[in-house]
């Protein structure tokens, strides 16, 4: 009796072991695919455990797998690869400079790092064209560089300088440009840019253009309701949103396993009715290819794509956070998969597109550029106190509002039918 009860437990039947049931429902079985560009698939789990009266995270699984090579890009040529590599170097070195400036007491507030995520930021934004749009999250400083902001701009934001893109009014990556660079500024709450970027694509479409609009969300941020609302709206309206879900395993101090139950966040795409792709976020080639294909879909008017980039946030949430809740072996595993080391090895050793001395020269160039930008930013003045006033409203003459992509298309006027006056609701 005992045994039989166990056999019929929900766990067993849901595993499809009841043959009759699975055969009768097979015809209606839906199958979905999630494209997976990765060459290696890390398999480990984090668990909360109690050790010596302290609760901590422990890692379970194989952390010894060798690092895979960079996946050969279907689209990138030598010149493009070298450009992406340079952006990644600039991204990393700018953040190192910011860390030093913070230690010197020159940064106002905190510093947010994209360490370990440079390939995801830089190679994704590199797939955009000038007319496309991008909306960064806090760690996508590399994406801002690729879109045409300078390291000087970003450093001045962090130092709250008068010459920063927001003239001292906001911090970190919280800035944008609707005129030239087509960047929508993020706010601190998560997921809110997704409907905004969908709206940008809608605006462009009303003006006769299908564009790609790229934005990002984390494994933590994707838990918000507005993430669902925004991407669902884009899906229903077939708007060219390219959403990078940057699964860096930690939402502040909470592991991804405590944010969602699906195995891969790319599976969420199934529920939106849009394509979902998984890439190794530390492989610039994969990130670019997925981004490029999604942008092309967007420009053809075929709607949004969800790309999950798997990687690891290699520092704390912000500079104040030592991330001592992260099991050390996890850092070691991902340190071996450093996106810049991997891409440098690919360019220098595998492709031989860059000699070791050319690589050194490139690094020195980036250092020189950064030094000049850092010195400029440090020497530039703080804003006058009175500059806090004004600008709350768009006053007469401060902006000319006009459609960016051309005159919106309108339908020729049709015969007006008499309007219905009765309210559909019972509230009269």
């Amino acid at each position: 009796m005992k045994k039989k009860a166990k056999k019929n437990s929900p766990r067993n039947s849901s595993n499809g072991r009841d043959r009759r049931l699975s055969e009768s429902t097979l015809a209606n079985q839906r199958t979905y695919t999630i494209a997976d560009y990765r060459l290696e698939k890390p398999s480990f789990k984090l668990r909360q455990v109690c050790k010596d009266d302290a609760t901590c995270y422990e890692i379970e699984g194989d952390l010894t797998a060798p690092v895979s090579p960079i996946r050969e890009s279907k689209y990138l040529d030598k010149k493009q690869c070298l450009e992406i590599y340079r952006w990644m170097l600039l991204n990393r070195k700018m953040e190192t400079a910011l860390e030093n400036l913070y230690k010197q007491g020159k940064v106002v507030g905190g510093v947010y790092f994209g360490l370990g995520q440079e390939a995801c930021s830089c190679a994704s934004a590199y797939a955009l064209r000038p007319d496309d749009w991008m909306g960064p999250m806090i760690r996508n400083q590399g994406s801002l560089l690729v879109r045409g902001f300078t390291a000087r701009d970003i450093m001045m934001q962090y130092m709250a300088k008068a010459g920063s893109p927001t003239k001292g009014r906001d911090a970190s990556s919280h800035f944008g440009d609707i005129e030239k660079r087509n960047v929508a500024a993020p706010i601190s709450t998560l997921g809110d840019l997704i409907p905004v970027l969908a709206g940008v694509a809608l605006g462009a479409r009303l003006q006769g253009r299908n564009i790609a609009v790229m934005t990002y969300i984390g494994d933590g941020g994707q838990s918000t309701g507005v993430t669902y609302e925004g991407l669902n709206f884009a899906a229903v309206q077939n708007l060219g949103v390219v959403l990078f879900v940057e699964n860096n395993l930690w939402g502040y101090s909470t592991p991804a396993d405590m944010q969602f139950r699906v195995k891969d966040l790319a599976e969420r795409a199934i529920a939106y009715g849009i394509p979902g792709i998984i890439v190794d976020g530390t492989d610039a080639g994969q990130v670019y290819d997925a981004a490029h294909e999604a942008c092309e879909r967007a420009r053809r008017g075929e709607g949004p794509t969800l790309i999950e980039a798997k990687m690891m946030r290699m520092k704390g949430h912000a500079i104040h956070d030592a991330a001592d809740y992260v099991p050390k072996p996890l850092f070691e595993y991902w340190r071996k998969r450093d996106p810049i080391t991997r891409f440098a090895n690919y360019l220098v050793k595998a492709k031989k597109w860059l000699t070791p001395s050319e690589n050194e020269k490139l690094i020195a160039d980036v250092d020189r550029e950064l030094e000049a930008d850092r010195d400029f930013a440090v020497a530039s003045p703080m804003p006058e106190p009175e500059s806090a006033a004004g600008g709350v409203y768009c006053e007469q003459g401060c902006h000319e509002i006009k459609p960016k992509y051309g005159t919106p298309q309108t339908k020729a006027a049709t015969q007006r039918r008499p309007t219905r006056m009765e309210a559909a609701v019972h509230l009269k």
Binding site: P165, T166, R169, D170, H174, F175, G176, I178, A184, A185, I187, S188, T189, D192, I194, P195, V196, A198, G199, V200, A201, L202, G203, A204, L206, Q207, V213, G225, V226, E229, G230, N232, F233, V236, G391, V392, Y393, C394, C398, I401, K402, P403, K404, T407, P408, Q409, T410, K411, A413, T414, R416, R417, T419, R420, M421, A423, A424, V425, L427, K428
Partner: protein
């Protein structure tokens, strides 16, 4: 001049702006073939096409976010909320994304969020609210609450043409109850300007939206007592017309502040502070507040009547104030 209801005036205002400017488009729940829950956009989808009259999922944050995104490309979206009670669902988008955009990063947000608010229709706690004060409190937004059909049309047109985000509260009790002569030629009513709805000399009633009509009815009764009330209809509640508030107090020296919103944190408190700052020496009596009670809007008609400010409340308080 043709007589139009408050609702028809809003409809005509939006549709004239859509004809005038191809950058204007509408989005919202059930606004297309169905024409909106209250039929404000009835017929729009046939005239302007489904591209410019977009039925959205039931997702208020997405509606506001998408409107803002489209505005960044130079469009002028008009987003309908089926009931303004549901605006809480989009609070973060409105208050953090949209309202702060121009100050933070210089991005204008020329969009209108419009929909029905207000009670006296037995809608209960979630179909009768007056949530304007959340937005009056937020720098970067403009908040409009028309009381007449003429103003409703002129103000919706001005709101659509404004380069800032405007929250446009349409009082649902007024939709089909009031009619005005509304010009068919193009006109706007400028934002931020109050009007004197009734000239008077003994005391002032400063109010807006449906309460303007309560004040007018009260003024007729008071006139029979020999009390001559002046009524100021604010029309725009943010930014407030400080000048018109000061002017009427200088003229009558006594003031009643009347609104349908609840008492604590309602607009009356802010207007009282303005009077204190601008014309304290002109006051000959205490500033009187008449508002709804501090509670959700109750459903059952007798309870709702108890909740709402009434003509009798205004008459009673005006007689009391006159004695000062």
């Amino acid at each position: 001049m043709p007589q139009l209801t408050y609702l028809e005036a809003i409809r005509q205002g939006i549709s004239e702006e859509m004809e005038r400017d191809p950058a204007v488009f509408c989005l919202g729940e059930d606004i297309g073939i169905y024409g909106g829950a209250f039929k404000v956009t009835d017929g729009f989808i046939d005239r302007f096409g489904p591209e410019r009259v977009i039925d959205t999922p039931i997702a208020e944050s997405a509606i506001v976010g998408a409107a803002f995104g489209a505005a960044l490309t130079g469009m002028r979206p008009v987003a309908e909320f089926q009931f303004m009670d549901f605006i809480g669902c989009a609070f973060n988008q409105i208050v953090n994304m949209v309202a702060k955009a121009h100050y933070r990063w210089g991005a204008p947000a020329p969009l209108v969020i419009r929909g029905p608010s207000g009670g006296n229709v037995h809608g209960g706690p979630f179909h009768s609210q007056n949530p304007e004060m959340y937005f009056v409190h937020t720098p970067g937004l403009k908040v409009v609450c028309p009381a007449t059909a003429y103003d409703a049309k002129g103000l919706i047109k001005a709101s659509i043409r404004d380069n800032n985000p405007v929250i446009f509260f349409e009082h649902k009790y007024l939709y089909r109850r009031i009619k005005d002569e509304v010009p068919s030629e193009d006109y706007i009513v400028p934002l931020g300007k109050a009007r004197v709805a009734r000239e008077g000399s003994d005391l002032s009633i400063i109010t807006y939206a449906a309460m303007v009509h309560v004040a007018m009815e009260a003024a007729e009764i008071l006139a029979k007592d020999g009390i001559d009330a002046e009524i100021v209809d604010l029309r725009t509640v943010s930014p407030l017309d400080r000048q018109s508030i000061a002017n009427t107090v200088r003229k009558t020296n006594k003031v009643i502040l009347l609104h349908e919103d609840v008492h604590t944190g309602g607009l009356a408190g802010e207007i009282a502070a303005i009077i204190n700052e601008e014309v304290f020496d002109d006051l000959d009596g205490p500033i009187v507040r008449i508002t709804a009670q501090d509670s959700p809007v109750p459903f059952s008609p007798p309870q709702e009547q108890y909740f709402l400010p009434k003509v009798s409340d205004v008459v009673r308080e005006a007689r009391r104030l006159k004695e000062y």
